[in-house]
């Protein structure tokens, strides 16, 4: 719907009450309740006409109100002879489906609204963070219009950037309070963890003071606090009502809303140079009693003058487009960000699996021992967007000079896939951005992930019960996208014994067929709804 006409001179800002409307609607719960009620009513009809079992299942009606189960349709016509009653039963089932469709539409709009707000915030924050000189330099990078290309590029950064900015602000505000008196930093710590849990962000990404952008005075306050506690303390922190969320852990689960208390361990390191905050969140599975442990560690360097990168996430170096201008080595950082932007822009036109390689000099602080410089090779790989909405990119890094090391995946927890990134030909990418040939890589782990996602999509798609549980992620576009991805992967990377087995496990039929030249395979899958066999014949590179 287009925005209503605005009277001349008035703001385009929505009135506050309008903005708040969507926040308080628990539509999903309401619709689930209604669909349940409809099913009860329809069941009552079935019982009335001695049609139990089986009951009349509202999922067996399509959006047009037609009964997709012939046996059921025949029984209904046989038993419910009153045309008005029959029509009413059908319309009830139809409405239940229309309602679910309307709710899906609502959820899409909600996502779009959140995206719009996120994008706006990024733009506004970026504008406010620009370092501009008093001599009249223009604000580099501040586009006067909403450039769609830039927004696309930033979209996959939004959640993390926003969470980080939020945490930084909370910490800064708390720091000011702490600087003025004896207030314990418990509140600041509570806020960090509350944000982390509420937003479903894995705080492992913020493993040091530098990344958190903690001010030296806040670090000093935390150090004093730690000294007071000597051996460290355990805090029970009540996070209050925590909403439903997906935690980025395996297995992925939905957490039920409810009040959560977490234990936070505040411990000084043995040498007294670090303050370690760690916390465990036990998340009950929705349909079982097995708890999933969500464990995070945050190390904060106490030496405010030389922030240390600590812990296991030292290789994490995803460019942060928001705080780029505030870095001390802003020039180098900006150059890196520009390279990264350029890589993403090129990859946008490419296929999943395409990659861009570039190199950059890196100087790392080694604390008391000075600095260490080396050349890093950065690989940005276009990933497979199963949800069909957002492009995803993996970033790898390795040292190429003075020594060559293995690739480290920098923007994901899945470290298992690191080993499978192949070596890149020496000298092929020096000093420039180049698109590598996809055939040079065989990322079996990546293919496995796609096949696993595909299998999940397949199971959800073919599960009748999921239709009633209103799983919005499961739809035809996702199914088709997953299939397309698998075909593209096989075409790009070829298959070996392991990948063939993996595809078979995921429900694919893989067979060798005679080709004109070399080896040709056919990968096929039966669509569970239409029973149509979708296949692709792929000529393998010799």
């Amino acid at each position: 719907m287009a925005p209503p006409e605005k009277p001349q001179g008035q703001e385009s800002t929505p009135p506050p009450e309008k903005m708040d409307q969507w926040k308080y609607k628990d539509l999903e719960g309401q619709v689930n309740g209604f669909v349940g009620t409809v099913q009860k009513d329809v069941n009552a009809v079935a019982e009335h006409f001695n049609m139990v079992p089986p009951i009349i299942d509202v999922t067996k009606f399509n959006d047009a109100g037609e009964c997709t189960d012939k046996n059921l349709a025949n029984r209904m016509e046989e038993k419910i002879t009153n045309p008005a009653t029959l029509a009413k039963v059908i319309s009830m089932a139809q409405w239940a489906n229309v309602l679910k469709s309307a709710l899906r539409n609502f959820k899409d709009n909600e996502i779009n609204l959140r995206d719009a707000i996120d994008e706006s915030l990024i733009k506004i924050r970026e504008a406010s963070d620009m370092r501009f000189s008093r001599e009249g330099d223009s604000m580099a990078g501040l586009s006067p219009t909403l450039d769609s290309g830039n927004l696309e590029l930033r979209r996959h950064e939004v959640t993390e950037a926003e969470a980080k900015a939020k945490q930084i602000e909370l910490l800064k505000a708390e720091n000011e309070r702490l600087s003025q008196g004896d207030a314990a930093p418990k509140e600041a710590i509570t806020q960090i963890f509350s944000q982390d849990v509420n937003m479903g962000i894995n705080a492992k990404k913020f493993t040091n003071a530098e990344e958190l952008n903690l001010s030296p005075s806040l670090v000093e306050n935390l150090r004093k606090y730690c000294q007071r506690t000597k051996e460290g303390v355990i805090m029970d922190i009540d996070l209050g009502e925590v909403g439903a969320q997906t935690i980025d852990e395996t297995p992925i689960i939905e957490q039920s809303p409810g009040s959560k208390t977490i234990k936070v361990f505040v411990t000084p390191s043995k040498d007294g140079r670090f303050l370690q905050l760690s916390w465990d969140v036990r998340i009950p599975k929705q349909a079982g009693s097995v708890p999933v442990l969500h464990h995070n560690v945050l190390n904060i360097a106490l030496d405010a003058s030389a922030y240390q990168k600590t812990g296991e996430e030292t290789s994490y170096e995803k460019p942060n487009l928001v705080k780029q201008a505030t870095d001390e080595n802003a020039e180098a950082q900006n150059e890196y960000v520009e390279q990264y932007k350029e890589a993403i822009a090129k990859l946008k036109e490419g296929r999943p699996g395409d990659r861009i390689v570039f190199q950059r000099p890196i100087t790392e602080s080694k604390g008391d021992t000075g600095t260490r410089s080396y050349t890093a090779e950065i690989v940005v790989v276009k990933m497979h967007a199963i949800d069909g909405r957002t492009d995803q990119y993996a970033v790898y890094r390795r040292e190429v000079a003075p020594e060559r090391t293995r690739y480290q995946k920098m923007n994901a927890q899945d470290e298992a896939s690191m080993d499978n990134l192949p070596s890149l030909p020496a000298g092929s990418t020096e000093g420039r951005i180049s698109m590598m040939e996809s055939r040079e890589a065989t990322p079996a782990q990546e293919l496995r992930g796609i096949a696993r996602s595909y299998k999940v999509a397949l199971e959800e798609f073919s599960s009748e019960s999921s239709a009633l549980s209103l799983n919005f992620r499961t739809d035809r576009s996702r199914f088709d996208k997953a299939l397309e991805n698998v075909f593209a992967l096989v075409e790009n990377y070829g298959v070996n014994g392991k990948t063939v087995q993996m595809l078979k496990n995921a429900g694919f039929k893989v067979e060798d067929i005679a080709g004109d030249e070399g080896r040709t395979i056919r990968v096929a899958m039966t669509d569970p709804r239409t029973k149509e066999v979708k296949s692709k014949e792929i000529e393998m590179a010799s």
């Binding site: 506050p16 609502f106 609204l113 939020k166 505000a173």
Partner: protein
């Protein structure tokens, strides 16, 4: 930045839909940074704020419309459910009536036979 732009900027910041969702301290910081800008910079920021809010308004309208559609459907379903129950009751009564009629006819037949 001239006073007119400052006023305009302040109005936009106060009413910004995007800024409503952030921490007041951060909003204050952003506001302070914007107020330090020169005219061209302020113009760019004003445009960003206006365009952002327009986009958010558009999305909010869509949300409101789909919200209403779901509400309407729920009302229709509630009404249809009530209709269905009425029909079932009527059918039950008809069945009972029909059984009575059959019993009565049979009784009459018996009586006639007698």
């Amino acid at each position: 930045m001239n006073e007119q732009k400052k006023t305009r900027l302040k109005e936009l910041i106060d009413k910004s839909a995007a800024l409503k969702s952030i921490d007041p301290a951060e909003k204050e910081r952003i506001s302070a940074r914007f107020m330090e800008m020169d005219d061209p910079q302020a113009d760019a920021v004003i445009r960003i704020l206006e365009e952002s809010d327009e986009k958010i308004l558009e999305m909010t309208d869509k949300m409101t419309a789909s919200n209403k559609k779901v509400d309407d459907l729920m009302m229709q379903i509630t009404s249809a459910g009530a209709d269905l129950k009425r029909m079932l009751r009527a059918d039950q009564e008809n069945k009972a009536g029909e059984q009575e009629r059959i019993k009565t006819a049979a009784l009459l037949d018996e009586l006639e036979d007698v």
